[in-house]
């Protein structure tokens, strides 16, 4: 590299072909804002211009592999960030190894991305499913008095989530009375609701149905079946803002969330909220924060590292802590997963706000959670 050459960072995301493309937009916005914040608007690191190149995976794993390879091989990107869905990202992992370059995973969530089939070139700033479910378990303040039934979709994401949720309940005295799995595209919950109610209604104590689904609304049918008549509460994790509108039906509901713009109290988040409002006329959402965290991690790594050789970067990033809109994150040396805070919330309804507001109860610190280590990159 000569001094004049810009440093290239590739954003490898799904930009067309799936409803998830909206998530990619959020990530991209967050990422760009992150670079702006970290470089104080200069878009330069160590005097080198940063060039962000965007690649569209079209949500197809094979396309993702070739555009990632292209980013590394032809465009000579130093680091790539992506992808949007776990499947596409899984397919991308070996490419990083093949080209011996860093892939920073954001915003795909699956635990397996830092699992045994991953490799040491992969870092991950996004949360993983274990964090979601463990924080959720903690937000329920489990004890002997607690009876929980779960509702999840019948595929790897749902089943893994519930088993990690179960692990978090172990030893707390709480009882899991039923696990219901529904097909991924379920539209009629009546039968499942009957089963859940039947399982819980005769229990003495606090009765909670934990909803762990993606892409479908199980809240509305559950809420309208009036669980309160059996003294049953609903609980679920937070979601992106548009999806939180349906939470208005369950004021007072408690759960945990990955990011809500009013929750973290720190300087970076304040800047993000303000800048996002100015630029896009709306508060930042879930994946905006993630995108920004990824950018901040990259800038910090590039600034600290002596040279930008991949090996140097890996050793710099292993164990690195940096500031993000969600507070401090740390790349765990073993599996390169970024450990981070989650937020315990309680739903408040305000008619002037389009969505239900997840009011902060408390921050759940990374130390409180026991996130399984996926693989050991040190070996």
């Amino acid at each position: 590299y000569t001094q004049e050459d810009p440093v290239k960072i590739a954003l490898v995301h799904g930009l067309s072909g799936s409803p998830l493309e909206a998530y990619s937009k959020q990530t991209t916005n967050g990422f760009n804002l992150g670079l702006e914040y970290a470089t104080k608007g200069t878009m330069e690191i160590k005097g080198r211009k940063i060039e962000v190149i965007e690649k569209d995976t079209q949500f197809k794993p094979d396309v993702a592999r070739s555009v990632l390879a292209e980013a590394y091989g032809d465009d000579e990107a130093l680091i790539a960030v992506g992808g949007t869905s776990s499947g596409v990202t899984t397919a991308m992992l070996p490419i990083a190894q093949e080209y011996e370059k860093i892939l920073l995973v954001e915003p795909a969530v699956a635990d397996s991305l830092t699992g045994p089939d991953s490799n040491r070139y992969v870092f991950k700033t996004s949360r993983n499913s274990s964090m979601d479910t463990q924080a959720q378990a903690l937000a329920l303040s489990p004890d002997e008095n607690l009876f929980v039934a779960t509702l999840a979709q019948d595929y790897a994401f749902g089943r893994d989530g519930i088993s990690s949720f179960k692990r978090a309940l172990e030893g707390t005295g709480a009882t899991l009375v039923a696990e219901e799995y529904v097909p991924q595209q379920t539209t009629d919950f009546t039968a499942t609701i009957e089963r859940l109610f039947n399982a819980l209604k005769d229990k003495e104590g606090r009765k909670v149905i934990y909803i762990y689904v993606a892409g479908i609304d199980a809240m509305t049918p559950l809420a309208s079946a009036d669980p309160a008549r059996y003294g049953i509460e609903l609980s679920t994790g937070g979601n992106i803002l548009p999806a939180m509108a349906s939470y208005k039906q369950v004021p007072g509901m408690e759960g945990s969330i990955y990011y809500y713009y009013e929750a973290p109290k720190n300087e970076i988040n304040d800047w993000l909220v303000k800048a996002h409002q100015e630029k896009f006329g709306s508060p930042p959402d879930f994946f905006t924060a993630g995108g920004m965290a990824a950018a901040l991690a990259i800038v910090k790594a590039l600034e600290t590292a002596e040279d930008w050789d991949t090996e140097t970067l890996i050793s710099t990033m292993e164990g690195m802590s940096w500031e993000t809109p969600k507070g401090t994150m740390t790349f765990r040396p073993e599996d390169h997963q970024a450990l981070q805070s989650m937020y315990h919330f309680k739903i408040k309804v305000d008619d002037n706000v389009a969505w239900a507001i997840p009011e902060l109860v408390r921050e759940i610190k990374p130390e409180e959670m026991d996130i399984p280590i996926g693989r050991n990159n040190q070996e």
Partner: protein, 367 residues
């Protein structure tokens, strides 16, 4: 039409019209490009695209045997493709990289495809075409659900990655030069990547030639006869159900073999690359754009669609930039909306060139 003196007619039948020649020429040119792809296109993406084109040519041509030649509308073609790919991938993952794994896994996948095809064919190729389409759609979606639910074996939605024999890994040196570094030919490193590509290319070529042979054989015409007039074909002595089932199985086996090749090349398998309905739509688009009932159409359709999928966006980006002053246009030309334009193009094509590119060309210069 006068009954004139022409004992040696049929010459008109044997003279190859200009349009047909053009199609052969295009297909040959594409074949040559693919044959030398690693040396012609040195950028990474082009190689991925070339390999994908090879595999899809086989997949689409085998689908053309069904839809174009025999008039069978099936939505289960990716299912067979997926069986081949998953079979190979699962055994590769379980046994570790090795040829034995590829052969055994591939054989298992192909056999499963064959058995399923026989069952579906015998059970439902008697019913009306539209119902057959629905049955295959149902079968394909059941398979998709199975793949997603048996995630311990299939990796579920996310799929899984695995290793392939060392011969195909980029670190493999096919030939070494004096210094023990990888030898180069025309500046291209002769590494495992090149070997993998030629594995893909040659397997695809063989399968493609097999299909060309099939359609030029007596059976090929019988298939067309079945498509044109089932009842009459039966009346002159062809067992329609048997022929339908046979071609359905042949197409399924070829699709599964394409899946095997795909699994070896990609080192990853998941619903999105081997099983999803999206691939089925791609196949349909390709077969129509190329021209149904021509086999060569598959070559052209796959190339056109793949180039659009990989490069149309770049073009639109340029176009959007160039028109940025004009209102509305840049929005519509937004690269993220490339599928919109592909869809519009597709409709126009079906509308104005129902025979597809190859079909339209072939008609030209016949009469």
């Amino acid at each position: 039409m006068s009954v004139a003196t022409s004992s040696h007619s049929g010459t008109s039948e044997r003279r190859v019209p200009a349009g047909r020649l053009a199609v052969y020429a295009i297909a040959l040119a594409i074949g040559l490009c693919l044959a030398f792809a690693p040396f012609l296109f040195t950028d990474v993406r082009a190689q991925e695209v070339a390999a994908r084109i090879c595999i899809f040519i086989v997949l689409v041509a085998s689908y053309d045997l069904l839809i174009g030649y025999t008039g069978i509308v099936s939505f289960a073609h990716t299912m067979f493709f997926g069986l081949g790919a998953y079979g190979t991938a699962m055994v590769l993952k379980a046994w570790g990289p090795g040829w034995d794994a590829i052969i055994v896994g591939g054989a298992v996948g192909v056999a499963a495809a064959f058995v399923l095809a026989v069952l579906i064919g015998l059970l439902s190729l008697r019913v009306k075409a539209i119902f057959f389409a629905m049955v295959t759609l149902a079968a394909a979606s059941v398979m998709l659900v199975l793949a997603s639910q048996l995630s311990d074996f299939t990796g579920g939605e996310d799929g899984f990655t695995y290793q392939v024999p060392r011969l195909f890994s980029p670190a493999m040196k096919l030939f070494e030069d004096a210094d023990g570094k990888v030898a180069r030919l025309f500046g291209v490193a002769l590494n495992g990547k090149v070997a993998a590509y030629y594995f893909v290319f040659l397997s695809s070529l063989v399968l493609f030639l097999v299909m060309l042979r099939i359609v030029a054989s007596p059976m090929g015409t019988v298939l067309e006869a079945v498509r044109e007039n089932e009842m009459r074909a039966e009346a002159i002595g062809y067992r329609v159900v048997a022929y339908r089932t046979a071609i359905f199985c042949i197409a399924a086996v070829i699709a599964a073999l394409a899946g095997v090749v795909r699994a070896v090349w990609l080192k990853y398998v998941g619903p999105e690359v081997a099983l999803s309905f999206g691939i089925m739509i791609d196949i349909l688009l390709m077969v129509v754009i190329g021209g149904m009932g021509t086999i060569y159409g598959a070559v052209i359709g796959v190339v056109v669609m793949s180039l659009a999928q990989f490069y149309l966006k770049d073009l639109m980006e340029v176009a959007a930039g160039a028109t940025s002053g004009i209102p509305l246009l840049p929005d519509l030309l937004n690269p993220d909306r490339w599928l919109l334009w592909l869809g519009v193009l597709f409709i126009l094509l079906v509308y104005f060139f129902p025979a597809g590119i190859a079909g339209t060309l072939m008609k030209k210069g016949s009469h």
